[in-house]
């Protein structure tokens, strides 16, 4: 009855169960807390109005809009670059190429760089170097692109999410049977035709997965956009690539640290966090739906 092995078994089983319950409990507490506090201020007005009275009333529409715009621009930048990189590494580069080895190493290290470093890099490279350079070359030294702007924030964010897209795309390319490539070649395809007509359509699911992960990451990060384009408060929405913008994550940060009246800001803060979470889930969900549709179409050959 009381032999030690059995007791040890029961003990460790309980231990693992407790660990699982802890994780679920944390999740429920965090989400529940945000939901309960956040839902109170959530209204159509909150989603469609700009912040007012030093962020103690009003809504968060500019931040929602800015986040969408940022993520969109980031996706436009990161998907082609990431996919092209992965396709080169997997389809074009010779086997055991030293260059590919180097690129892969660079990508792995890029994935380990803290987000704030990307922010500083964006400030130094995109704004100070490229932006200022553009101003000198095209605008006679007038300050247009040489300052924080949504385009620089989006490009910085694209750099941050590049490894995700490259790795996901490569994974997808690796999953395509070599025999498909051989069939395409045997039917007279050039390498590009083979990639265009067999490899890329098959890899779309994986590429979108990479895109989804990039979007989830991009819509939640604050550090890369702090110095490169996100604004504390703006009365107007960004309409040009060189405009600054408001961003949900940064807005949360600003309200937490800079509010003149903490108690008045608190309910707004909760609602903003709730919106940020919902937005991330929504973006994820949309991308997953698109991926599922494309996969289904591919599987059944339209």
């Amino acid at each position: 009855m009381f032999d030690r092995t059995r007791l040890a078994g029961i003990f460790f089983q309980s231990l693992t169960a407790v660990a699982c319950i802890t994780i679920v409990a944390m999740m429920v507490i965090i989400l529940g807390n945000i939901l309960i506090h956040g839902i109170q201020r959530l209204s159509v007005g909150f989603l469609t109005k700009a912040p007012m009275a030093g962020m103690t009333s009003g809504g968060i529409f500019p931040a929602i809009f800015g986040t969408f715009a940022l993520v969109l621009l980031m996706t436009i930048a990161v998907i082609p670059l990431g996919v092209a990189t992965a396709v080169y590494m997997h389809e074009y580069a010779p086997k055991r190429s030293r260059m590919v080895h180097l690129v892969r190493l660079a990508i792995q290290n890029l994935a380990g760089v803290p987000a704030i470093v990307f922010g500083l890099f964006g400030l130094g490279f995109f704004i100070e170097f490229i932006g200022r350079g553009m101003d000198k070359a095209f605008f006679g030294g007038r300050l247009v692109y040489g300052q924080p702007a949504i385009i620089w924030a989006a490009l910085t964010m694209a750099l941050l999410t590049l490894p995700t897209v490259v790795v996901a795309t490569e994974e997808a390319l690796r999953a395509i049977p070599q025999s498909y490539r051989e069939v395409a070649y045997s039917l007279g395809a050039t390498r590009w035709q083979m990639i265009r007509r067999v490899v890329l359509p098959q890899a779309v699911g994986g590429i979108l997965t990479g895109g989804i992960l990039a979007i989830s990451r991009g819509s939640g990060e604050v550090a890369p956009v702090m110095f490169t384009g996100a604004a504390y408060f703006l009365p107007e929405l960004p309409t040009r690539l060189h405009n600054q913008f408001m961003e949900l994550g940064y807005h949360v940060y600003v309200m937490t640290t800079q509010s003149p009246d903490v108690e008045a800001t608190k309910p707004i803060l909760y609602s903003t966090v709730l919106v940020l979470l919902m937005l991330t889930f929504l973006l994820n969900f949309t991308a997953i739906m698109i991926r599922a549709r494309i996969r289904r179409r591919l599987r059944y050959g339209r």
Partner: protein
């Protein structure tokens, strides 16, 4: 089957594919040790031999698929209708349209039956109003037309294994090749599917040179006109099938075809 006789119209004249002193090396191993062999339209040439004999490598040299593997060093010459296929003026994509391939397992691309069939045609730039006619001719020649004519827009994977392999045969026939390479095309198929493919090959051989690699000694005996026996990268014997099976010159050939080998 007579009613299904092929209406496919290949370019007339006899295709001739010819390998001379073909060597293939990987690092320091020789996979092919100076193979000289020729095949012409009007006959089925089968290549038999145990695993590792270099049969597949030989086929892959004939349509220049071998060079996709950068580790292989290929030397020697291969001629198709008098032109060296390694000549700088030869476009590999065009060569591969002339030298069709059927692999040992059916590999339908993840598309519909029809999309599979027009895959090569679209790449070749043939006007799309002529696709349907080519598709039908190829399907008839592969004895598949009756089975798939009403389901061309279904996914190719819905077909049975034997049908898939005939689809792969038809897919390469749409390009009207001069030479047809088959690498153990029936190794995974049931006897009925195998018979259909063999029958199709008998019809096709008058228009193109058929080279059939097979692990099945009996298949080579019943389906081919001439047989080459490969062993460890060497061509041991190359004779008419009747001669090679009834009266092999080399002891190793005799051992292999009678199943006494290794």
């Amino acid at each position: 089957m007579a009613a299904e006789r092929t209406e496919i119209s290949f370019s007339p004249g006899s295709a001739l594919v010819c390998a001379e002193a073909l060597y293939v090396r990987v690092n320091h191993d020789e996979i092919l040790k100076g193979i000289s062999l020729e095949a012409r339209s009007g006959e089925i040439l089968s290549i038999i031999g145990p695993a590792g004999a270099g049969k597949t490598t030989f086929l892959r040299c004939l349509n220049r698929m071998a060079e996709l593997d950068p580790d292989l060093q290929i030397s020697g010459s291969i001629w198709l209708d008098g032109q060296s296929i390694y000549d700088a003026s030869v476009e590999v994509a065009i060569l591969r349209r002339q030298v069709g391939t059927v692999f040992s397992v059916p590999i339908p691309l993840p598309m519909t039956i029809f999309e599979n069939l027009v895959f090569g045609l679209e790449l070749s730039g043939l006007p799309s109003n002529r696709h349907l006619q080519r598709v039908e001719a190829a399907l008839r020649a592969a004895y598949l037309w009756e089975e798939v004519k009403d389901r061309l827009h279904e996914p190719a994977r819905n077909l049975s294994g034997g049908q898939q392999q005939r689809l792969c045969l038809a897919r390469t026939l749409t390009l009207e090749p001069k030479v047809l390479l088959l690498d153990e095309p029936t190794s995974g198929l049931d006897p009925i599917s195998t018979a259909k493919i063999e029958e199709a090959l008998q019809q096709l051989k008058s228009n193109l040179a058929v080279i059939l690699v097979t692990n099945n000694v009996k298949q080579a005996a019943r389906a081919s006109d001439r047989t080459a026996f490969f062993l460890f990268g060497e061509l041991i014997e190359f004779e008419t099938t009747a001669q090679l099976y009834t009266n092999p010159r080399d002891r190793r050939t005799a051992d292999y075809i009678s199943g006494r080998f290794g």
